[in-house]
Amino acid sequence: MTIARVDRPRRASAVVKASGSDSPPPRRHRRRGRLAAFAFVAPLIAYLAAFYLYPLYRNLDLSLRDYTVRSFVAGDAPFTGWDNFQRVLDDPTFGPALRHTMVFTFVSIAFQYVVGLALAVFFNRHFRLAPTLRALFLIPWLLPLIVSASTWSWMFNSESGVVNYFLHLFGVDPVGWLTSPDWALTSVIVANIWIGIPFNLVILYSGLQNIPAELYEAAALDGAGAWQQFRRITFPLLRPVSAITLLLGLVYTLKVFDLIWIMSKGGPGDASSTLATWSYQLGFGTLLPKFGPGAAVGNILILIALAFGLLYIRVQRRQEA
């Protein structure tokens, strides 16, 4: 089907590109224009240097030195090069934390996207209360994470939790959701999927809105059923929006820390620890903070995030070409 390629919606790709498309200003304004253009971004650039680059530099510095609580205050920690990274890579927690991070991220994103897309298609139909119900779907996403996390903790409680009560109605034995090493990771993933569905729903829904209704009418005239319409029109035309949804999901999920920390503290043992919670655990979670290794784990996490980010940018460029 060629319609999909010819008639790609413009606004959907504008979301991704986010750049202007007007013609350049007349030449005589250009010099003054350049100055104004710079003046309008200068505060942002100063801010980014002070509150992004400098903290990142400090974090890198932290990961390359041997810090103790005392040397942290005095600022005379010896430079130890890659020692912290070596220590972290040799740590028995590293393997599980890396694996949990990957599982947490990919399973969460897969479910959020599929459920979000199904809901977006569902709400794209016209029926009474549709706008209201769609708005209500946003609530889980707008709630403070600590609220969702503590609510899910209590719902997953082994003895008095409502989840086990419902399972009991179906004759299933109670599960130690957050206390059993077999289930802790699953529990935090379930809560995270719940939180992420609304975001996927909103973005994919707005992508659906940009698909011209005539395409569906034409397809219906040609005798295409609902599934055919989804496979041949909706899904291909939604691809740019899907790409940004998945990227943002990846970026946000990879760094999830509070949800897991509040629900399980990465435990029991390290059954639900990810790189993010482990980094916090090392740096702030104990009375004897290990800032150097904590920062090293954080920097490894940045590298992983950037790898996915670059992959995305490549895919995006190819799509636009």
């Binding site: 750049s19 309008f40 980014l48 009474r128 708005a135 889980p140 009991h168 909103v202 973005i203 740096g283």
Partner: protein, 273 residues
Amino acid sequence: MKSRTGSRRYTVIGLVLTALMLFPVYWMLNVSLTPQQDMRKTPPDLFPLHPTFEGYRAVLDDQLPYLGTSLLVGLGTVALTLLLAAPAGYSLAKLRPRGGGALGLFLLVAQMIPGIVMAMGFYGIFLDLGLLNSWWGLIVADSTIAVPFGVMIFTAFMSGIPGELIAASRIDGAGTFRTFWSIVLPVSRNAVVTVSLFSFLWAWSDFVFATTLDGGGDLRPITLGIYKYIGNNNQEWNAIMATAVVASVPAAVLLVLAQRYVAAGVTAGAVKD
């Protein structure tokens, strides 16, 4: 277009799906009203049959100062974010500064940096400067969550403003700042609301920076209030859930007031072309 029965069937399915999705929210409300002695009852009461307000009384006694701090930090973060992001978005969208592309890329990358890494860097810097446990230190840290997002929303939105509108303002003799202030900003109201909404909510619900940078100060935000509550008395779940309900109120209010902007603004596709 659709038959009436079809529409009604969809409404019913929609109601069921929404109920399933919102069950945890309902459960939070239900538990917040459950008396202490019924908390560990099996089966649990599915409805607040004997509602109690002990939990909410505990909130009033213990948590009001935390709520005040969160409000202060939230509003401060909104102001700082708008101040930085709106002009930068205008510049990137319409004025095309040299290196604008690289800046856009940096903002994209900045959103990929985990909060916990930023927190550790900020901890070191704030320790040196003696800013730990200060509310405005927290504002600065919290704004790092919202600023890159804000710039991208403003850029996307302002790209959609017709070039003729800006050219007309130029012809009338308005300078760049005048054009920005009197034409571009008012037209961008949706983007302003969207960015404000999200920067407030993110600052309000921030836990990472609060727990690392403001653990011992007098002005602690509500996220820490709840967290300490869970740690200190993990028996009184009605009080914990009541605090959670109260902490969710801003989100609920904003959702009701601004649901159009939430849905429309996120993708910055609000401008009709």
